[in-house]
Amino acid sequence: MGAMSAKTKAKTQESEHAALGLTDDDVLEMYYYIALARALDDRMWVLQRAGKAMFVISGPGHEGCQVAAMWPMDKKKDWFVPFYRSVAACLVKGMSPADLLLGLFARANDPSSGGRQMPGHYGHPGVKILSTSSPVGTQYPHAAGIAYASTLRKTGEVTMVAIGEGGTSQGDWHEALNFAGVYKLPCLFIVENNEYAISVPLRKQMAVGSVAVRGAGYGMPGVSADGSDVLECYRVAKEAYDRARRGDGPTLIEFRVPRLGSHSSDDQQERYRPKEELERVRQRDPLKTFGAYLQRAGLLTDARKQEIADRIKREIDQATDVADASPEPDPTTGARYVFAEKGAADA
């Protein structure tokens, strides 16, 4: 009886990703990216603790929804406007682990900024990831502008932008949604709600229970999905993506995610989050929940899991070596690129 029900369940679960149009290879690759992002994240913190990096800010717990939301997108054609927790999303979009570590080490060939910005400020023109700053919320109007240009120029591009729930208190966030709503822009407005803006809890950030309800104020659907349910995240993102592609306008998506780590390497979340709560959020780790789903579906055997882990370790070791061996910026270049340089092609 017990064995029977487990088998039935596995069968139902298996059809869950197939029903969404995802192949076995798709979900295994999604798992790989979630695990890669987590392993890279762990590596960044180890390097920081070892004194190899000044600072880390990353997104443990956010990987599942990021991989799922990026999955339907055209990685070459579409735009992504990230925030500092977008480690997994940037990897899926096309940045390599070495690209991210070059930023962590502030090296000359860091594609995000050539070592000019703090770690976690991603950007990459080659894979259409817009450069990020530190003031929270400013990226939202940029996404609306990119999407407006796509519409006017008829490029067929879709733009995805991400932020945490704290950023939704900024005026820029609201102004961007309003503008995008008016012009029905092909845009996915992602909010990764981990219930903390550094130390400020959700109840002090907003008077509504879900960010998604705010979509109504801007004439767009607002949906909310559990960030630990990777397939559900994919489902809502795919629907929003298709809607944008059809020209039906933007969607506001809230992913409710666990924040497994502190805000940054300069923060200790144990000082303001109860132990039991930290215990509880660990149960919602998307790496665990999605891994468990794949095991139930018979796709992630122990051998396969080990194989993936080994591959990731190799890749991250290699990326660390590459980044570590890369040169630091030449101080004589400090005054370059305040403006476009004469004779150089316009960016």
Binding site: S133, Y140, R153, E175, F179, Y337, V338, A340, A344
Partner: protein
């Protein structure tokens, strides 16, 4: 060459830029059906349609922020702020984003946006429709700030700004819109962003000004010449990056310098010009560098007599010229 008003020159530049290049768009409050509160964008909506002439929601930060996003994806936006006084909500977008995008991305991304802002005191426009904002922005590396003073320059510099690969804050003193006329060619031409220009040759002292203050200064210099004081008048035109050479060359010739600006005096634009001259032309100087700026009060007051008290008139400039010449 036909003589047109300053506002007409601005309007012509918009039409030509949009005809010339499909990627140029105009956005701002009331820029469409109304043609702008000052008429700068008159006739554009009819010609180029709603998607290229965008009446935006009343939210300045997103006017700047959306324009930045457009500019990284192939468009050349001209974003109008209805009054420079209302640009402040967009400060973060202009300073943290537009001005820093190229530097922070190590040249991967640039923001070719023109931010237009009508500034300065006119008649009866008070604290919130009279502000001079140049000092806030000229301080910021990565942003070009211009304040043309003639219709010829306004048109040519606006066309240059649209073609510039970097963000340009384009300041238009409102007083000039309908008061200042000048010869302007009908077709396209550019006036480069950067060089200052000597508007009046002189030998006794140099006066540096821009925007409407240039016109008041030229009048004052004319009066001074009748008193035997021969003032050179330099139109700075581009406030950032600053044309140091033209300034230093003029001071080397006249040995005396006065900077006239309408903004309140303390830490205003004139302070930087004065510091430049003190540091790099000390040995040429026969007198202290003088600044003539507005009073250090929070804004231009409304009542006529109070407004006159605040404003930099040609009489006040003449008095400063006399003082400098007599030193």
């Amino acid at each position: 060459m036909p003589e047109v008003r300053y506002i007409d020159a601005i309007n012509q530049a918009h039409h030509l830029a949009m005809e010339h290049d499909d990627s140029v768009i105009v956005m701002g409050e009331d820029v469409g059906a109304k043609g702008g509160v000052f008429g700068a964008t008159m006739g554009l909506l009819e010609k180029f349609g709603e998607w290229r002439v965008i009446d935006t929601p009343l939210a300045e930060s997103s006017i700047a922020g959306v324009a930045i996003g457009m500019s990284v994806n192939g468009l050349r936006p001209i974003a109008e702020f209805q009054f420079a006084d209302f640009i402040h909500p967009a400060f973060n977008q202009i300073v943290s984003e537009a001005a820093r995008m190229r530097y922070r991305s190590n040249n991967a991304f640039g923001c070719p946006v023109v931010f237009r802002a009508p500034y300065g005191g006119s008649h009866g426009t008070a604290l919130y429709h009279s502000q001079s904002i140049e000092a806030f922005y000229a301080h910021v590396p990565g942003l070009k700030v211009v304040a043309p003073s003639t219709p010829y320059d306004a048109k040519g510099m606006l066309l240059a700004a649209v073609q510039d690969p970097d963000p340009v804050l384009f300041l238009e003193h409102k007083r000039m819109y309908r008061l200042v006329r000048g010869e302007v060619p009908g077709g396209e031409y550019t006036v480069p962003i950067g060089p200052a220009v000597v508007r009046r040759e002189g030998t006794d002292l140099s006066v540096f000004a821009y925007g409407w203050m240039l016109h008041e200064t030229l009048q004052a210099a004319e009066t001074a010449s009748k008193e035997g004081i021969n003032a050179e008048v330099v139109d700075l035109r581009t406030l950032a990056p600053l044309d140091k050479d033209t300034i230093l060359k003029s001071v080397a010739k006249t040995n005396r310098a006065l900077i006239v600006y309408e903004d309140n005096r303390f830490l205003g634009y004139g302070a930087e010009v004065a510091a430049l001259i003190a540091e790099e032309a000390f040995e040429s100087l026969d007198a202290p560098v003088l600044r003539l700026g507005g009073p250090d009060v929070p804004g231009v007051p409304f009542a006529k007599k109070l407004e006159e008290w605040f404003s930099i008139s040609q009489e006040k400039i003449l008095a400063a010229i006399r003082k400098l010449a007599a030193y």
